[in-house]
């Protein structure tokens, strides 16, 4: 459960995020949609506590992001924009490292890793060093290490960016699976079709502001359009930066 209340963040003169409010419920996929540079990643970075808001607050499972960042980090799994791996470690070692940093160890940890390797269909690359992995393979390792501690809230920054069709489908299947497990999923995307296809709740951000939010149906009703694509463009006011 993620609650965001009037979060704002500026970098110098640039107002990256202005008074953004929304909430993301458990068992739902919430999508932050907006053109590049709209403030989606900044919002997410504030939620995973790497940058501090100038004003407003947000809570994840009741923990405030500024007051108890460590507790927040315990309850989230994050696929950030930066997905760098350790090229001299194997895929399994990369995942294990993050598991150990989340207090997991021994048999419990190994079973978690084994489970994730199976779900992500990556047993064949598990014991290879990640140097030279394809984009899709790298993403699998990055997602596995983000989920190794079985977080209740999953934050994904542009999860299908740069993936081919097959990997995109696999990623979507995984996101649905996480929803079935009752997790709260918050993802960002600048791809309208993706958000339209995946999300139960859509928050549209442009120029650091929330321009509209609601379920796909609600958005259609509000804009009087008969497809989501037209609804998005109506809300944002232009097609710039969207796909």
């Amino acid at each position: 459960m993620i609650e965001v209340h009037e979060l704002s963040k500026s970098f110098g003169k640039i107002k990256a995020v202005q008074s953004v409010s929304f909430s993301a419920a458990n068992g739902q996929i919430t999508g932050l949609l907006g053109p590049n540079g709209a403030g989606k990643s900044t919002t997410l970075r504030m939620l995973y506590t790497l940058i501090k808001p100038d004003s407003g607050f947000a809570r994840i499972d009741g923990f405030d992001i500024t007051e108890s960042p460590i507790n927040v980090q315990r309850h989230i799994g994050v696929l950030s924009d930066a997905q760098g791996l350790y090229p001299r470690l194997t895929a399994r070692e990369n995942i294990r490292y993050f598991g150990r940093l989340h207090d997991l160890n021994g048999l419990e940890l190994e079973q978690r890793i084994e489970g994730l390797l199976a779900v992500l269909d990556m047993q064949s690359i598990a014991d290879r060093k990640t140097e030279g992995f394809s984009t899709g393979e790298q993403l699998k390792v990055a997602i596995a290490r983000a989920l190794v501690h079985d977080p209740k809230n999953v934050l994904l920054d542009e999860p299908t960016n740069g993936l081919d069709v097959k990997s995109t489908r696999a990623m979507r299947q995984l996101i649905y699976k996480l929803r079935e497990q009752g997790k709260c999923i918050l993802l960002t995307s600048h791809i309208m079709q993706e958000v339209a296809a995946l999300c139960d709740h859509i928050v549209i951000i442009s120029n650091g502001l929330v321009s509209a939010q609601g379920s796909p149906n609600e958005l259609l009703l509000r804009t009087g359009k008969n497809n989501l694509e037209d609804a998005f463009i109506e809300v944002i006011g232009s097609e710039e930066g969207l796909q």
Binding site: V78, Y86, F98
Partner: protein
């Protein structure tokens, strides 16, 4: 504490697999011993120039001064014919020094007027200095000898012109001749400690940022100091190994090479001395890792950090170079400066001088204290959100 260990362990395993970078660090560890050993072999023998060996002296126009030539030959000098172009021969190093006796000598000498001889020499040639001094002393001796005889012939006591007699009391032991060489040792030891740590520091800080793995790492539920301490600790074994290898290298050089023959004495680098040096250097491992960590974390890329670190390694080594030329006494204030105090102490250990326990303690405590403050600064740097955003 447990988490610091997990991070340290991962970084050590990761770095061990980076064969290229740690082997570069190792190269620096053996560089010092190789260098000093090389210098010993090359110039060591020139220190030990035997004064009693006959000296070859090319003389031009020796027929102009038969008395002088006889005097020289009586003092273990072999007079040789001079090369055609004495200046060129000296400049090229074919001969150390050439004596030229001008025609005027023949005229001036019998008239008891000052007769001039010329010495062609190259004062910048270190290896020739022993021979040059020897010839100068001989010529001076001849001059005084003849002068005295002339005074006596005129009924004047030679003591009239000898206003002050200089009697040199040379306290230089053969060992202190080796001091110059020995003074370079601490420089290489400190250098090895820094260079052992730097590839690991570089990879775990600037490298982590460049690989874009820092952001995911920092999302793990740990205070920033845990990351900093884990990474810092990971550099210790590499730095420690580098220190150990350098010391063993120096031990081998000074115990296997005939140092005694080259320098007229032994330099004490026995097991006990080496262990003392090792122990006194341990706090520098902390210092070298911490200061390099701070600088590398501040840099925007591995490349940028890679240009700073060798410089950082050089700065604390500078006092060591200075020590080679301006020996500093082991006063308490010198012990307050990390790496400087240790260099003085290393020098003392090797010279078997008595070590003040207070100096050793102050030097160690101060180095640890300064390193702790630097580490704290690195933690503060990691707590800033700029570390993630990537703006310095």
């Amino acid at each position: 504490m447990n988490k610091i260990w997990i991070i340290c362990q991962k970084e050590v395993v990761d770095s061990m697999r980076d064969y290229r970078s740690w082997s570069t660090g190792l190269f620096w560890a053996i560089f010092g011993p190789l260098m000093i050993g090389g210098i010993l072999l090359m110039v060591g023998s020139s220190f030990r120039e035997d004064v009693e060996k006959p000296l070859n002296l090319p003389v031009q126009n020796s027929q102009n001064a038969p008395g002088l030539i006889q005097f020289l030959q009586g003092n273990n000098v072999i007079v040789l014919p001079a090369p055609a172009d004495p200046a060129a021969a000296v400049r090229q190093g074919d001969v150390d020094v050439v004596l030229i006796i001008p025609k005027e000598y023949r005229e001036n000498f019998p008239l008891s007027e000052t007769a001039t001889v010329e010495l062609v020499l190259d004062s910048s040639r270190q290896s020739a200095s022993v021979n040059i001094t020897r010839i100068e002393n001989l010529l001076d001796g001849y001059s005084k000898y003849i002068g005295s005889l002339r005074l006596v012939a005129r009924g004047v006591s030679p003591q009239v012109i000898e206003v002050v007699a200089i009697r040199q009391v040379d306290v230089a032991t053969p060992q202190s001749r080796a001091n110059l060489l020995v003074s370079f040792l601490p420089y290489f030891i400190i250098f090895a400690i820094f260079n052992g740590a730097s590839p690991i520091i570089l990879d775990t800080t600037a490298g982590e940022r460049e690989r874009r793995s820092l952001e995911p790492l920092l999302i793990n539920p740990l205070p920033r100091r845990t990351f900093v301490l884990g990474k810092l600790l990971a550099a210790f074994p590499f730095s420690l190994a580098s220190l150990g290898i350098t010391l063993i290298g120096f031990g081998i050089v000074f115990n296997v090479l005939p140092v005694e023959k080259f320098l007229g004495t032994r330099i004490e680098l026995n097991g006990k001395t080496l262990i003392s040096i090792f122990l006194i250097c341990l706090p520098i491992i902390f210092f070298a890792s911490a200061i390099q960590m701070l600088v590398a974390s501040f840099s925007r890329s591995t490349k940028e950090a890679g240009t700073y670190l060798p410089f950082i390694a050089l700065v604390p080594s500078l006092p060591g170079l200075a020590l080679a030329f301006f020996p500093v006494k082991a006063t308490l204030w010198t012990m307050l400066i990390p790496t400087f105090g240790q260099q003085i102490l290393i020098n003392q250990f090797m010279r078997l001088e008595p070590i003040s326990a207070l100096n050793a303690v102050v030097s160690s405590v101060m180095t640890i204290l300064v390193s702790a403050i630097i580490t704290l600064a690195a933690v503060k740097l990691y707590e800033r959100e700029q570390i993630v955003i990537g703006k310095g």
